[in-house]
Symmetry: C2
Subunit: 414 residues, 2 copies
């Protein structure tokens, strides 16, 4: 069937990638090494063993191009993978654009987001290492939900520190996590020293991912049977999410097409990395493909931040990473895209942006929601506030190209 | 791949059925005719033209075995069809059962339920007939959401009367419908005469589907450009939902399996009809397959109702249908399975139950929720309260068979 007729492009199950793609194998400049928060010297694996299993630490620094996905993880992936790539025919018609717009739909996962792609291997590798319990942070709740389910699958206990503003905005999310057997606390909480300190100084704080990360790490380091899991920012998370973009490339091949622009929303960077990184080798080989990160104007880490060493959390418990950052004490407004309220960005995304291989745009909430409603009314799927940032930008690009009367293809991530 | 290895059974897109299956072609006894609510004489097509287009009225009484799905409807179906059939390996393991349990997952539709299968053709046929606006009722909100989206697809206005208890329990559902451009009112409302009357007599009523139907019909008959749409009970709705069971049969063939028991939750009957009716011809030809309807103990239409002529609504605006009913003034407790809070059952389901071709069970809310949590923690998908009735029964059947040490296969609908 031709690409003009197809709405849903489904990869045959046997073509689900068996390897994750590691962008570090292809980057012209690797990110600067993380620094030990106390000594300020380059990290050693031993600095990370109190909170991560060695297998994930190895993935963090690996420069192998392809890393095999364990059999057990692949078995679980099959419940929702391969995820569909949709051609947005009805949106295109509403925009009256000659551009071809595609979107990769990770909403078919049982938790409704892409986060399970990394939660499952993280739970798996921790289980293999003999760990009994994981702690984590969550913004909008997507990551916390995914890790709750992944922990249940591997019989691990799970505690989630959820940014307070999202905890209040989305009461059902707590129930979601509890249904999977996890514990979910609003952050800052009185469970940790850092939580109590923040509450004392700023009793009305909406919370931040930086605070929630501090709480989850403080909790994890105190127990030998407990590790910490991060849902974005780190290299191994981008690695796991690479399955998305690898599938997209195969799906676009099936309809004999290739994107001019690949767009993803960007908080910590895992969603963007997932769809965009597998296109980098083509770009480096001269293919004319743009990779675009979209962030909220209320939290413009890439477009307004500085490229410097900073902590991932508010208490300075994490390594210092060289990244675009608004400062680890930055508290963004309580916008609805809770998953994008993060002061920093993955070092991989940051380095690629710094090297001019990736673009960034900041968009405002009102325009994002208008785009979301148009998308819902045409494509039928109500997109998350986070994904809607990518949709807004795809629409803007289509309008811009139309003025230039040029056909373009967009691929965005929801 | 063998059925022991497969988790997700995906039908090739070209095998999506092109025809709906009409169970009326095969029933040993057709349901008694509907009666005009005023004259009490058998309905004529003209009795229904004030609220339905002729094409749907024809489907209502047709005894053709297969009715072609219009091209435009099939195009839209392809966004979420074929839906996956899952083998519940992890649930089976938790139950330590030798039984094979499969579930058909309609949650991949953009509105998250099977209701869109009928909403799309209903909107399509009304649009073809020149109608500009549809009114409807909704319990838990699934049908109202589906019709809101379907109306948006065909550029029809849409007003949804939502049972008050569900309107209160699920505030996000209203926003869901409004996002698709529909209007959603709590029922009883002050928009209609019947709504005002009920509010005056019972200001604290939780509402019922029977009241909401009366309001939607009263609204529809007053405007020439407006028709009414019903999300269950009627024959044409069961017809449209037959695509589910037809797909299931093809999917089970793909793994060389066949169910001993087919289970669906039952309110008005559309969910059950969708999965179960396509198995009836096999049963009539001697195949040993049980069809099981599961209803809430709080609203036991089949198991405790009487088989008699009754109204579909509280005000007596609808035709009288011969069905199992608790009486059109029955107000069930405000259980969470809002989609199953209906006093009657489809005449087709009722007749098949009466003729011993279909079984019925009533289950209590607490056991249903326990089953839902076990399902969520094993299969990862958090099921709707309605679908959880089928899950409870599948688990009970597996336990029962285990005591008899017999392998069985179950197919249930979520």
């Amino acid at each position: 069937m031709s690409r003009e007729e197809l709405t849903k492009i489904i990869l045959p199950e046997e073509k689900i990638p068996k390897f994750w793609y590691n962008v570090q194998a292809d980057m012209p400049n690797l990110p600067a090494p993380g620094l030990n928060p106390k000594t300020k010297k380059p990290l050693t694996p031993n600095d990370l063993t109190p909170i991560f299993p060695m297998s994930l630490i190895e993935q963090e620094v690996s420069t192998e191009r392809f890393i095999e996905i364990p059999e057990k993880v692949r078995e679980i992936y099959k419940q929702w993978r391969p995820s569909p790539l949709f051609r947005a025919h009805r949106l295109e018609k509403a925009l009256d654009t000659p551009c071809r717009i595609y979107y990769k739909y990770e909403g078919v996962s049982p938790v409704g987001s892409h986060k399970l792609n990394s939660a499952v291997p993280q739970a798996y590798f921790n289980k293999e290492a003999g760990i009994k319990r994981l702690t984590t942070e969550t913004g909008a709740g997507q990551w916390g939900t995914a890790l709750s389910l992944a922990c249940k699958m591997f019989d691990l206990a799970c505690t989630v520190y959820m940014v307070r503003i999202s905890f209040k905005q989305k009461p059902y999310r707590r129930v979601f996590m509890e249904t999977y057997g996890a514990e979910c606390l609003p952050s800052p909480s009185d469970r940790t020293e850092i939580g109590r300190k923040v509450l004392l100084e700023h009793p009305d704080t909406p919370g931040t991912l930086g605070i929630a990360i501090s709480e989850a790490i403080e909790d994890a380091v105190q127990r030998d049977d407990t590790n910490y899991a991060l849902g974005s920012v780190l290299n191994h998370v981008s690695l796991h999410q690479s399955i998305i973009g690898q599938e997209v490339k195969l799906q676009m091949e099936m309809v004999d097409d290739y994107p001019d622009v690949v767009i993803g929303c960007c908080g910590g960077g895992s969603n963007l990395a997932g769809i965009a990184f597998p296109f980098l080798p083509d770009k480096l080989q001269g293919k004319n493909v743009r990779l675009v990160a979209v962030e909220p104007a209320a939290c413009p880490s890439l477009t307004k931040g500085t490229f410097a060493y900073d902590y991932c959390d508010v208490a300075g418990l994490t390594p210092l990473l060289k990244m675009y950052t608004l400062g680890s004490h930055f508290t963004p407004a309580g916008i609805h895209a809770g998953g994008l309220r993060y002061h920093g960005v993955s070092t991989l995304v940051s380095q690629l942006y710094h090297d001019g291989l990736l673009e960034a745009k900041a968009v405002k909430q009102k325009g994002v929601f208008e785009a979301a409603i148009l998308f819902a009314q045409t494509e039928g799927i109500i997109p998350a506030p986070e994904s809607s940032h990518a949709i807004r930008t795809a629409i803007d690009e289509a309008f811009r190209r139309q003025r230039r009367r040029k056909k373009q293809k967009y691929c965005l991530q929801s």
